[in-house]
Subunit: 349 residues, 2 copies
Amino acid sequence: MPEGPHRPRRGATTIEEVARAAGVSRQTVSNALNAPHRVRPETLERVTAAIRELGYQPDQSARSLRSGARRTIGYLAPVDDPLDPNPLMAGFLEALVDAAGAEGQRVLLFRPAAPSADPTAAIDELVAARQVDGLVLADVLAEDTRIAHVARLGVPFVSFGRTGPGQPQHWVDIANDAAMAAVVRHLAALGHRRIGYLGAAEELPWMAARRAGFLAECRRLGLTAVTDVAPVGPLGVPPSSAVAAVRALLRGPDRPTAFAAGSDLLALDVYEAVRAEGLAVGPGGVAVTGFHDTPLCRHLHPALTSVRLPLRPIAAALLARLLAQVRGDVVPTEGVELPTELVVRGSSG
Amino acid sequence: MPEGPHRPRRGATTIEEVARAAGVSRQTVSNALNAPHRVRPETLERVTAAIRELGYQPDQSARSLRSGARRTIGYLAPVDDPLDPNPLMAGFLEALVDAAGAEGQRVLLFRPAAPSADPTAAIDELVAARQVDGLVLADVLAEDTRIAHVARLGVPFVSFGRTGPGQPQHWVDIANDAAMAAVVRHLAALGHRRIGYLGAAEELPWMAARRAGFLAECRRLGLTAVTDVAPVGPLGVPPSSAVAAVRALLRGPDRPTAFAAGSDLLALDVYEAVRAEGLAVGPGGVAVTGFHDTPLCRHLHPALTSVRLPLRPIAAALLARLLAQVRGDVVPTEGVELPTELVVRGSSG
DNA sequence: TTGTAAGCGTTATCAG
DNA sequence: CTGATAACGCTTACAA
């Protein structure tokens, strides 16, 4: 008898078969899996053996349908800029998958239908089809329609980054301002008194926070902050314009002896500008720092000092908050700021 | 009556409610969705309106349980090297999610329990729990236990990259050797007669193919290929050792006037070596090329010529082959090599 | 502690 | 072309 185009089962073992093999009812097998303490040890043993023997694993669809738990979380992939790829797609995503796996959860990756399409539509689809227990959002803006939307939907969610006040949410973030302040202190300890800054896309909260942290710490320490009057533009700054901006500052009246950049890729532009001005990168010439600690840092010469994000702790914290909501725990909506680590390398040390 | 900790339904609309609203049986609603041609146009209209009105979408778990189709594919995230992050995690993954979305499929990301853990165990779990219709594997090795394993399992799968012969599989790959041959021709057209090569991790098939393509084309054109006697080591080459290797070649008897690198990050090491030898990168000095066309290329000075991978066509081709298997079409196991594009920039042009 | 009965929301089968 | 009935595999009451 030929199998039809749709085969409801791939020949996978079912709970019924396990029950038969162990000589118990299928309910006992279910209990052995979901509430082991309710099964007599000796029975449990027999069932466990049968499960192992047959390589049984519950059908997740059946389980989800019955219990309501999807054991899956959705991650809305941030839009990517071709000139400045989102580092979250690499390290953070892996950390998230690992953290989820440790909690018995899977990660479903999704994106808006088109780059310019409304991300809330993609969210609606996923939620309406009940494919996930909760959502993880990243790269959250001050006024973020996604946050407002999922909050209205009532789906459990957490965000990496936070909106402005007024939108209750569970968030995890890094202390962007404190991280940049630590950079300033590091450079000050090296004797630098005039420090330059290269940022971009300051409309992004984390970029704005980095600049703010930089300025505040310079002020506090009585250092001269040398920054572009008109900060270089949007996310995808053409490298040439960033280089020009830095060169201008290096030729200005308060020539900085060190430069902090808002990202590792921007630091690369600083390297170029410094060299174009006939100066050297490093403690002897112009010290440079980046942000993110991407692998690029170690391939530069000198290697780039950078701020490392605690990606695994972030992922773990996000997941803990998300699952608490999924379980129905009453958790106050609040967030946590995790500390970063300054990795000092040749460019400043 | 308080809701228990598990709420089987989130209050989502069910097919029953739609049926009632449209004044038809729930079966008709199902038909309207899955076999519209079997429903009278006027009824279809009424049902569609009710669906839109109520924002109904079928529960994917129920649908999966009943039909056997999970509408989800699994992507086994490649292990990442901290010194040379896998570019597949960024652009390719996005392309894959988009291609899947266009086919009504979602992407489930998964990884081995631990970096060193057996990836086949992770595959088994996913398959046994029937969470996916098929698998996408990337970074396939010549002797790949994952390929052998999923083939034995009988799960539909495709691979980005291919094993050695003898393991039937559906694969999509780029023409690594042809891409590097094109690089050589490009450099030859610029007048270069002695061309250096920097590779790494030659045990990886794609890295080996790039070197092979380089050597073959140099031979064909009668050019002098200047390569390291002992190619630099494993995936995570300490940048310093790669730089040293290139510097040695630049001081050797057949000083190359151009350098092809096996990746963009390796090209960065070439830049450093060239400059350390007091030479300039570019058509006037030592021309340099990379591989992958990562965003880094545009941030270098001069900007880096590189080989661009057709990530979206690759993702589309992979998905087409995978879904054909899922549908049960009898497709001969074979592969396709997609062409790359050489993006010429200042480092060689 | 274990077995029995019911139902989660959907789609396939088969009458009308 | 439509509507009743059964089943997918599992878990949660409840009864034994």
